[in-house]
């Protein structure tokens, strides 16, 4: 399972790097899909408590705009 996840992560990174080579300029009036509230790059407001319990119950945190380890008796 771990190797599978690493392969998936590597594929996602490769797709992202290749896609970035073909960035196009998107005009404001073309951003209707990008501006959809479910397309926002970031955690959804409803996930707030989920991020909290994950930082308490797991050893790692950060890189998700959530807790970085301080502010609570968590990891």
């Amino acid at each position: 399972m771990k190797n599978f996840i690493k392969i998936i992560a590597a594929i996602c990174l490769l797709i992202t790097i290749v896609s970035m080579q073909s960035c196009t300029i998107v005009k404001e009036y073309e951003k209707n899909k990008l501006n959809d509230s479910e397309m926002v790059l970031g955690n959804r407001t409803v996930e707030k408590t989920e991020l909290s319990f994950q930082s308490y119950r797991e050893g790692s945190s950060g890189a998700n705009a959530g807790k970085v380890g301080g502010g609570c008796g968590c990891n």
Binding site: M1, A9, S37, G71
Partner: protein, 395 residues
């Protein structure tokens, strides 16, 4: 006469355009932008409680309520100032915390409340594509107090397709030193009015991110943090049993450096489906490494309703100071039996449903979104939990 009429019409047009400009300029007064209420119920159970040395119940429930309000004001230089005030209250009960005194049927530590207000400000200069941010936070519960502050800056690229953000956060915390009752030397009994010593824990984090619009349907973000923690990094009521069955207080180093690296990618597939993917790699100097992968796929059933199934996989190696019940010895300088620092995999899956009709919900025009979400979490070491969350948004 014709020239006179044309001149009058032209003058009228000019004055009207100026009036339109004044009417459409952004309001200068502080105005309400948005408010969110998030309520959650969380319930867990397992058999590896750190309070009882890596064995025993981990039963815990948590009811969490958070409200945040955002106000907006444009200043004289036409910069958008946003003020966000939030306050959260958690009430939790913990069967394991109740075991700080192994002999008591129930003690003051079986339940607690945590209150955490925060105030954040940002100022965006839309013409230059820059944003300044700052904020303060506070958190208090019976055995833990925290003062936090953050500052940040973001800059969009010239074509406004990319944005770079840097943020510095600091948390200055105090941990109340509540020792397991059999290890106390001063005869204290864990009563409600007991006075305990405290020890400091400081966290400093630098967070960097870069987001990029690839095309009309696709955008990505790269995130990297560097986090340094110093001070009392364990919890004083965690027990560790050595191989000779002697009981000790958890002992962890007073420094920890963490590096998480993450990438997000959101893609609008067709007109109805969104793919939200996230991957994080984490490493720290306690020997813990982890991989996190999550995928959420909102499906728009109608313009106002969407369903979002999600799945998250997490895998971590053990911290080098971890050992199960009765496997540590007196030769170890540092030791813990906290299974949150052990080797395990976890799965978190569930779904949410979101309603956002144009004219508001339940006849309230300002209630513009309701989202309910359920998730089930399981660890390979036997811990399980469930969480249900509700978000109401007012605009």
């Amino acid at each position: 006469m014709k020239k006179l009429i044309i001149s009058i019409v032209a003058l009228f047009g000019i004055f009207n355009a100026k009036a339109q400009e004044n009417i459409s300029s952004e309001p200068k007064k502080l105005t309400f932008d948005e408010a969110n209420l998030v309520s959650s119920y969380y319930k867990q159970d397992g058999n590896n409680s750190a309070v009882t040395g890596g064995i025993g119940t981990e039963k815990l429930t948590d009811i969490s309520n958070t409200i945040d309000v955002t106000m907006v004001k444009y200043d004289k230089k036409d910069r958008k100032n946003k003020f966000n005030f939030s306050v959260g209250i958690d009430h939790y009960t913990s069967a394991s915390s109740d075991m700080i005194d192994l002999k008591a049927n129930s003690s003051a530590s079986h339940a607690d409340n945590r209150i955490y207000p925060a105030l954040n400000w940002s100022r965006e200069n839309e013409s230059k594509g820059t944003t300044l941010m700052a904020g303060v936070s506070f958190s208090t519960e019976f055995d833990y107090q925290s003062y936090g502050a953050n500052i940040g800056f973001s800059q969009k690229t010239a074509n406004k397709m990319g944005e770079f953000t840097a943020k510095l956060q600091a948390y200055l915390d105090q941990v109340k030193l509540i020792t397991p009752i059999e290890l106390r030397t001063n005869g204290s009994t864990d009563g409600e009015h007991e006075s305990y010593g405290t020890s400091g824990r400081n966290t400093f984090a630098l967070s960097l991110s870069y987001s990029q619009i690839i095309n009309q349907n696709f955008q990505v973000e790269f995130l990297a943090d560097g986090i340094q923690q110093t001070g009392y990094l364990g919890l004083p009521f965690h027990r560790v049993y050595f191989t000779d069955n002697s009981v000790h207080q958890e002992a962890l180093p007073d420094k920890r450096f963490k590096i998480p690296l993450g990438v997000r990618a959101n893609y609008f597939l067709g007109d109805k489906v969104i793919l939200r993917a996230y991957y994080r790699y984490y490493t720290d100097d306690w020997g813990l490494k982890s991989n996190t992968f999550s995928l959420e796929t909102p499906v728009k059933i109608s313009p106002f309703v969407s369903v979002s199934p999600f799945y998250r996989y997490y895998s971590q190696t053990a911290a080098k100071y971890f050992a199960p019940y009765q496997e540590d010895t007196a030769f170890d300088d540092f030791y813990t039996s906290n299974y949150d620092l052990s080797k395990f995999d976890s799965h978190f899956y569930g779904a949410g449903i979101r309603f956002s009709p144009k004219n508001g919900l339940f006849g309230i025009e300002r209630l513009n979104m309701l989202e309910i979400r359920y998730g089930h979490y399981t660890k390979s070491i036997g811990m399980k939990s469930d969480i249900v969350s509700l978000n109401l948004r007012f605009k």
